[in-house]
């Protein structure tokens, strides 16, 4: 009984692995294309690509990080914050994401100063 249960778990794990890998490689294509168009200044197209990547693979921190940057560039600071937070929840120790988020917070804090009346 125990042996057959282990076999089922192993089978499911093996079956799910290629699916996850497929999702990641599919999402990676969108992320790469998004980076290429963002470098040409086509930020709206980049957002579409990275949003698609984030839908295909919600655990892909790069997609969330890039989306956050694009939202920042578009002036949508609330969405940028949410995307940075998702990226950091996925990869809390990623120094690039942390650095981007710190720079974003500096700008965001300027717009939401508490000592203004």
């Amino acid at each position: 009984m125990r042996a057959s249960f282990s076999m089922v778990v192993l089978f499911l794990a093996l079956a799910a692995a290629p699916l996850a890998a497929d999702a990641r490689s599919d999402a990676k294509k969108h992320v790469e294309f998004g980076v290429a168009v963002a470098q040409k200044g086509l930020w709206r197209e980049a957002i579409l690509q990275w949003e698609r990547a984030a839908t295909i693979d919600p655990t892909y921190a790069a997609a969330q990080n890039n989306l956050a940057i694009a939202y920042e560039h578009e002036g949508d600071l609330d969405k940028a914050r949410a995307a940075y937070e998702k990226a950091l929840a996925i990869e809390p120790n990623n120094s690039y994401i942390k650095q981007n988020y710190e720079l974003f917070k500096e700008i965001n804090d300027r717009t939401t100063r508490k000592d203004a009346q």
Binding site: N65, N94, I97, I107
Partner: protein, 251 residues
């Protein structure tokens, strides 16, 4: 032991692979920031002057008025009114004399608490409405400025290079007592509706700059250095700004 070693090695390999596989690209971005105030109802702006105090080395009232006018001329859509700086200290003192019945001269403002009696001036709706009528109902920018000398002594850790008798270089962290001098700039910008005389918005800032005690930096250059830090935030109150920066895209 072998299993633990294998696990350590495999996680190390995973980290190395992840680092090697992470492609990153630095990209310049420009973040547009919406203005804090809706000034679409105004065509003109009057930087009326400031109640100022602190060091006598810089006339922070005049310098701030000049600087803000020139910044607004180039970086906002409003037409800047060129007018003499209003004698706000006298107006505030007159107001105080009228309310207390005692005739006095304006007291020197040396500390921040000395500003308190003058703050009432910004709530004087009749006065600002009159100013507004005189200049065709502009947006009025006024407020208070404190520009104070600062001195701070602290212990800082520095890395000191040393060579032993064999000529070997050694860097050791050493704690030293450092005396630092500089200035603090604490402005409060008040935005008044010239049509009604009421305060629309006010905002406080605080910036500080410290130098080594043996360094002599003129007060005026410190003032401009500190104002440079505040100007983007001040302008962002009235007009949308684009803040340039760099971020890292990942793959």
């Amino acid at each position: 032991m072998t299993a633990r070693l294998a696990r350590t090695l495999s996680s190390l390999t995973a980290v190395l692979l992840l680092t090697a596989c992470t492609n990153y690209y630095e990209i310049p971005i420009e973040t547009p920031i919406r203005p804090k105030l809706d000034v679409s109802g105004f065509q003109r702006v009057l930087v009326a002057g400031f109640i100022s105090g602190g060091t006598d080395d810089v006339d922070s009232n005049l310098e701030t008025t000049r600087l803000l006018r020139s910044q607004l001329r180039t970086k906002s859509d409003l037409r800047v009114i060129d007018a003499d700086v209003l004698p706000l200290m006298d107006v505030a003192t007159e107001g105080q004399n009228a309310s207390t019945g005692v005739v006095g001269t304006p007291a020197p403002i040396k500390e921040e608490k000395d500003l308190e009696p003058y703050e009432r001036l910004f709530a004087n709706v009749d006065y600002w409405k009159k100013v507004g009528e005189e200049y065709q109902q502009p947006l009025i920018v006024t407020g208070t400025i404190m520009f104070l000398p600062q001195q701070r002594n602290s212990i800082v850790q520095r890395e000191v290079e040393q060579y032993d008798s064999f000529g070997r270089r050694r860097v050791t962290p050493t704690r030293t007592y450092v005396e630092r001098k500089g200035f603090a700039l604490r402005p409060k910008f008040v935005f008044i509706d010239g049509r009604t005389g009421t305060v629309m918005h006010s905002e406080r800032f605080a910036e500080e700059i410290l130098y080594n005690a043996n360094q002599t930096t003129p007060a005026l250059s410190s003032y401009f250095e500190l104002m440079d830090r505040l100007i983007p935030s001040f302008l962002n109150t009235l007009s949308s700004q684009k803040i340039k920066g760099t971020r890292v895209l990942l793959q």
